[in-house]
């Protein structure tokens, strides 16, 4: 066999394998049961519009507050990691390492149960506050590294040009370096936003009320009430509708960035 023939044979058998797998699935799965338990049109329809107007909106609001707080915190951490003052660097490094190593769930629980014990008061803002602080703390650890990488990707000459024009280090950082750094890191930051959307599903552990639930909790509650998995499928579908355009956007931006350089 020539290499080309061999390649063809491999391709062919891959197709055969795929078709066999699909056929087996079609043959052995209980399609009536799947349809009955996962794809009940009447149940799905019944969930609208609340699943969108309330629960998808809740998910997005939790994501947004966590992202904004996380971003501010991340910027501070990134600047600390680049600081000439040792202790700032150490604190920031410890923070990043800690919160990247600990499950987000643990951090959320620590915030929810630990803060009242440590400070004698709950996080303000109810679940929204927990979302912002708990998820924001975690997101900040990841985004701090992203921002630092972005700052370091800006050529050194930019800082030198800014300083030679008489700008103070902070002026140069905020009006020259950071605008360029953020342009570089829009794709990874968008990725972080997508991860955060999914992480809001962890918020159920701190307890929710019927109106403050996000998508996953709402889907799960409805699933358990009805004894049918359709609500979870609807929830999954909505996640998909929200995140797919974002991931597509990231890919577009990354391509453009790659071409721009």
């Amino acid at each position: 066999m020539t290499p080309r023939q061999r390649q063809r044979a491999i391709r062919g058998s891959l197709y055969v394998l795929l078709i066999a797998a699909v056929a087996a699935a079609l043959l052995f799965a209980d399609w009536a049961s799947i349809q009955r338990n996962f794809f009940r049109w009447d149940i799905a329809v019944e969930m609208f519009p609340e699943v969108l107007t309330r629960f998808a909106v809740n998910t997005l609001i939790y994501t947004l507050v966590a992202f904004v707080l996380g971003l501010v915190l991340a910027l501070i951490l990134a600047l600390m990691r680049l600081s000439p003052v040792g202790p700032y660097r150490w604190v920031a490094t410890a923070y990043v390492e800690f919160f990247r190593s600990v499950p987000a769930l643990v951090t959320i629980l620590l915030v929810n149960f630990g803060i009242p014990l440590a400070f004698g008061r709950r996080v303000p803002g109810g679940l929204l506050g927990i979302a912002a602080v708990g998820l924001g703390i975690v997101a900040a650890a990841y985004m701090a590294e992203t921002i630092r990488a972005g700052i370091e990707a800006v050529p050194r000459g930019q800082m030198e040009a800014a300083r030679s024009l008489g700008m103070r280090p902070s002026q140069a950082m905020f009006s020259i370096i950071l605008p360029q750094a953020f342009r570089i890191i829009i794709p990874p930051l968008t990725n972080e936003f997508v991860l955060l959307i999914k992480d809001t599903s962890l918020l159920f552990v701190v307890g929710t009320t019927p109106l403050t639930r996000e998508l996953t909790k709402f889907g799960r509650d409805t699933m358990q009430t009805l004894g049918n998995a359709t609500p979870m499928v609807v929830a999954a579908f909505i996640y998909l509708v929200i995140t797919l355009p974002l991931t597509y956007l990231v890919r577009r931006l990354e391509k453009r960035g790659a071409r721009g350089r």
Binding site: A161, L165, G166, Q171
Partner: protein, 248 residues
């Protein structure tokens, strides 16, 4: 910090610079007087850029002093940012701000550092763009310009601070040969207008024609300096002769 306009713009006294163990500048003494154009030449790695960068303290000198209009640049208590506005700097790789338009490149430091009004900063920017012949590019972004145009914008940006002196670090070395002329033309006119200039360059034609003095550096010391016709046409030192024969 009284700026003494009668003091020479740049006075370098016993300047030394080490990068770790590497001694790059070994006691440089030189002076640039008001309105003078001094070209610094020398082989690659001889410390020309380091010397220039020490003048506005982009590099910290290890020893010696630098007086800018009589003010000690190396004094830790000096308002370095204020002093830097007196010194324009032009880099080999232009270092324009790519996220800003040409106009904003020229106004941002005027606004943020000198606190000029938006209107005044714009007027000054326009005047300097006309000076370098690029007024029609005022709203472009830097990446839409040729290398020569970018370097002219960089010169206009430095001039917009109304500095008393200009430092050039191989301003044409990153340019395609056909774009070098337009940048040298701008610099030549700047010299005619009486700007004090310290220019690191490999353009011997420019040095011969425009420089009042040429300084030849090698191995972190000044080997020879004097009028261009002496240093370039009739060098006293063997090292200068060898360098000139290599690049000509």
């Amino acid at each position: 910090m009284a700026v003494d306009r009668t003091a020479p713009p740049i006075q370098i006294i016993g300047l030394g610079k080490k990068f770790g163990e590497l001694e790059v500048l070994k006691g440089i003494d030189m002076q640039v007087n008001a309105g003078e154009v001094v070209c610094v030449i020398g082989p690659s790695g001889s410390g020309k850029s380091t010397l220039l960068r020490c003048v506005n303290r982009l590099e910290e000198p290890t020893s010696g002093r630098i007086l800018i209009e009589g003010v000690d640049m190396t004094d830790p208590d000096v308002d370095i940012d204020r002093l830097r506005t007196r010194i324009g700097m032009v880099f080999q790789h232009f270092n324009l701000f790519p996220h800003l338009t040409v106009l904003d490149n020229l106004t941002i430091a005027q606004r943020k550092v000198l606190k000029r009004s938006k209107h005044e900063a714009r007027e000054i920017a326009v005047a300097n763009l006309e000076r370098v012949g690029l007024i029609d590019k005022i709203d472009e972004y830097p990446n839409r310009l040729s290398g020569g145009q970018q370097q002219r914008v960089a010169i206009a940006r430095a001039l917009s601070m109304k500095p008393d002196m200009m430092l050039f670090d191989e301003p044409t070395s990153a340019l395609d040969p056909e774009l070098i002329g337009e940048v040298l033309d701008v610099m030549r006119r700047l010299a005619q207008d009486g700007m004090t200039m310290m220019v690191v360059t490999h353009e011997m034609g420019f040095a011969r024609e425009v420089a009042d003095r040429v300084v030849f550096m090698d191995g972190g010391v000044i080997v020879e300096e004097g009028p261009p016709k002496d240093v370039l046409s009739n060098p006293k030192h063997e090292r200068t002769r060898r360098f000139l024969s290599m690049i000509l």
